[in-house]
């Protein structure tokens, strides 16, 4: 895991002092709220419906046990004893006081954390594969590049006031777990013997995004040597900074610029700018150096793995008692992933208990306990997933049973990873001042409706994403089933999309028709699922059945009760 040197530490310490001064000037009235707003947002501080919310950066989702304990401490001391993990691999505290935020930042700085650029119209926290460095299907560990670009983007002066927010994702595995094409810039890392002497290169996708106009990114550059990423990305961002629309908030994302110019023309303009930045004289100064690579890459070496033999699929559950074996096997199937190193596995801890709290929430007690599990079973490290769960990446297969038993005590062992109840949801109208509708009660109602694990297991992989407004923080566009909260004449309604998908076959879901009342949604879900169950062929996942049948049968089923419901919210 990356370890700060004096440069990183100086920067975050000074940033605390800088923000403390900005907060003081806000409190004594020398900065107006309107002018303070971008300053606090660049430091992850929102003003929500009820209180300030602080979003803390977890660069590419990597977290130490010590850091997690500090987050638990902050939740207890400065918040209400819990926090929320987000789809951008960040964590947010929902109930902080403006006056106390500099103190929170000072606590974070002590454990090499910060809240820099987790919000605002700047380059946001860079996300990557939660299984980076351990995934069996990985061909390049993306973390050194993630870290180099984290540093490059931190407090970047030219791009501090972009037209809108700007999000990078970086992937280096066969399966895309980063939703690469739904990012302003997606960086696909490769090693091809025919390019750059077999050294690391990057393919650049630009102009993807969700929001009210979901668009998948376009390939604009192939085989870019990793060393030139700073100059190429400077060129790309400079074109966006200069020509991205600023007249209309909803048309200000880079996806609109790329769409209106066309990806070829956008690429040509970036290339034109890059030609100036990438000439011989400047190259030596701007390029990432071997020294810098070594400086960061040395932190991403493998932990002290034992020499172990891979345990068979039968041997692992055999350790459980007969009474436990069924449940344990289910957990092994859904929550445990294969690993690069023999005898090890990666474990996903579910932050989606059925029918209780917001997806991605963890209490301080859970955070402390999970930190202990990380120390005990996974070299003191964890990861935050895009789906708002936590991962212990390096667990010995022989200790999975022990870990499962301990995780059950913390209510983070539900075997629902990738299933219908592993819901991605934004905080919605319960917290967010932008939301048109609530998301959390919808998630809760669906989890309560589909509480039977046998049934869920039988349904297999289905992604369900819920957003409380068109900004689509719950990424409903890429859910197999998406739910979007909409406002109609001051009332909360919910629109359903079908056919979205993340991963290598990323696609944007389609709206099936008029929206529903909140209390209709569980029935609508049941109807949609029933169509799948009736129509599927053996082993056909939901998304394949949908693609084969098209929207019609699903749409028909969803609206069969239309008009029979009285309008209403969920209890």
């Amino acid at each position: 895991m990356y370890k700060y040197d004096h440069i990183d530490q100086t920067l975050v310490d000074q940033r605390v002092i800088q923000f403390r001064d900005q907060v003081e000037r806000r409190l004594n009235g020398t900065i107006a709220e309107e002018e303070f707003r971008p300053l606090r947002l660049q430091n992850g501080l929102y003003h929500q419906r009820h209180a300030y919310m602080l979003r803390v950066a977890i660069p590419y989702g990597l977290l130490s046990a010590k850091q997690l304990r500090t987050l638990a401490f902050i939740a207890d001391k400065y918040d209400r004893g819990y926090a929320h993990f987000t789809t951008r691999q960040n964590i947010q505290f929902n109930w902080v006081e403006l006056e106390q935020t500099p103190d929170i930042l000072a606590e974070l700085a002590k454990v090499e954390m910060h809240a820099i650029q987790t919000s605002g119209n700047c380059i946001r926290n860079i996300t990557s594969d939660a299984f980076a460095g351990v995934a069996a299907d990985e061909y390049i560990d993306p973390r050194p590049i993630c870290e180099l670009l984290r540093q490059w983007s931190t407090l970047h002066p030219e791009f501090a006031h972009l037209p809108r927010k700007f999000k990078f994702a970086i992937n280096g595995a066969k399966e895309d777990r980063t939703v690469l094409l739904c990012h302003d810039v997606g960086i696909e890392l490769k090693k091809d013997p025919n390019i750059n002497n077999g050294e690391l290169t990057a393919d650049i996708y630009a102009g993807g995004g969700m929001g009210r106009t979901p668009i998948l990114g376009s390939l604009i550059k192939q085989g870019l040597p990793w060393q030139v990423l700073p100059s190429y990305l400077t060129a790309l961002l400079r074109v966006y900074n200069r020509f991205g629309r600023r007249d209309n908030l909803y048309k200000a994302r880079i996806k609109i610029l790329v769409k209106s110019l066309g990806p070829e023309e956008f690429a040509r303009q970036v290339e034109g700018e890059w030609a100036y930045l990438h000439n011989e004289a400047k190259q030596s100064k701007d390029n990432f150096t071997k020294y810098e690579w070594e400086r960061v890459a040395k932190h991403f070496t493998k932990p002290a793995y034992q020499q172990l033999n891979t345990m068979s699929d039968e041997a692992i559950p055999a350790a459980a008692t007969e009474a436990e074996r069924g449940a344990f096997t289910r957990w092994l199937k859904r929550n445990v992933k294969s690993h690069q190193v023999p005898g090890y596995a990666s474990v996903i801890l579910s932050l989606k208990p059925h029918g209780t709290v917001a997806p991605g929430d963890a209490t301080s007690a859970q955070m402390n306990a999970i930190a202990d599990l990380a120390d005990q079973y996974s070299f003191g490290e964890l990861r935050v997933t895009h789906e708002q769960n936590l991962v212990l990446a390096d667990v010995e297969q022989s200790k999975l049973l022990e870990l499962w038993q301990a995780a059950k005590q913390q209510h983070v062992a539900l075997p629902n990873i990738g299933l219908l109840t592993d819901i991605i949801a934004c905080p919605g109208g319960d917290f967010c001042s932008l939301a048109n509708a609530k998301s959390l009660p919808i998630a809760k109602a669906i989890q309560e409706r589909f509480d039977d694990l046998d049934y869920l297991f039988d349904l297999g992989d289905i992604s369900l994403n819920i957003s409380g407004c068109i900004n689509s923080c719950g990424h409903h566009h890429v859910g197999n089933i998406g739910v979007l909260g909409v406002d109609k004449d001051g009332e909360e309604w919910y629109q359903i999309t079908l056919g979205g998908e993340q991963g290598n076959d990323a696609s944007i879901g389609k709206v099936i028709g008029p929206s529903f009342y909140a209390n209709e949604i569980p029935d609508v879900m049941t109807s949609l699922i029933n169509v799948y169950v009736e129509q599927r062929t053996t082993d056909e996942p939901f998304i394949e059945t949908y693609r084969r049948l098209g929207v019609s049968p699903f749409k028909e089923a969803a609206y069969k009760n239309n008009g029979k419901h009285s309008k209403g919210a969920l209890a």
Binding site: I7, I17, D21, N121, P157, E158, H161, Y276
Partner: protein, 186 residues
């Protein structure tokens, strides 16, 4: 106009200096630069105005006396007029880039382009809605003079530049600390 501006030369320290340049918005244009209420007669004219008037003899006269500079609006595409800017490098003692509102970052890129691409070595002044918390970023991209919005406190402004002493990306002023460290280490 402000009587004082913050001046922060590349290899110097930030100080307050007397403002000798008045920004003219190009309005009330009767064919030439109007008589502005300014003892030194030094005027920053809009770049778009310069494009259409710079061949006028009275403008050439005043420019030859070192009394005319230009300012770029946030939406001026300076690369489209590269030839005029190249020519202007010998004529303008000062150029400026305008912030229509503090959160519009286009002029950061304008300043970077003027320094990097046009190799402009003279003063680049930030004008318009320039607030204290933009100063450090501005100083890094290529600005070396700042006419702050009149309500901003200059003494607080002067203290902004050394708040963050390390950089992790190259800028006009500094090479990133992560490569400078290499020279120290080796």
């Amino acid at each position: 106009m402000n009587k004082q501006i913050i001046y922060f030369p590349k290899d110097g320290k930030p100080t307050l200096i007397i403002n000798k340049w008045q920004v003219w918005d190009g309005e009330r244009d009767a064919g030439g630069i109007p008589n502005l209420d300014h003892e030194l007669h030094k005027v920053l004219v809009p770049f778009h105005w310069w494009i259409t008037h710079h061949k006028n003899s009275d403008i050439i006269d005043r420019a030859n006396k070192g009394e005319v500079g230009v300012w770029f609006a946030a939406d001026d595409d300076i690369l489209k007029h590269a030839d005029i800017i190249e020519e202007g490098k010998n004529r303008w003692p000062v150029i400026a880039a305008h912030f229509p509102i503090f959160r519009d970052g286009r002029s950061f890129s304008t300043a970077a382009l003027l320094r990097e691409r046009f190799a402009w070595t003279g003063e680049v002044r930030a004008i318009g809605d320039v607030l204290i918390d933009q100063l450090l970023k501005g100083a890094r991209v290529g600005f070396d003079a700042f006419e702050l919005r009149p309500d901003q406190k200059l003494d607080i402004g002067l203290k902004q530049f050394d708040l963050i002493s390390v950089t992790t990306q190259n800028s006009w002023r500094d090479q990133r600390a992560t490569t400078v460290a290499q020279l120290v280490d080796r």
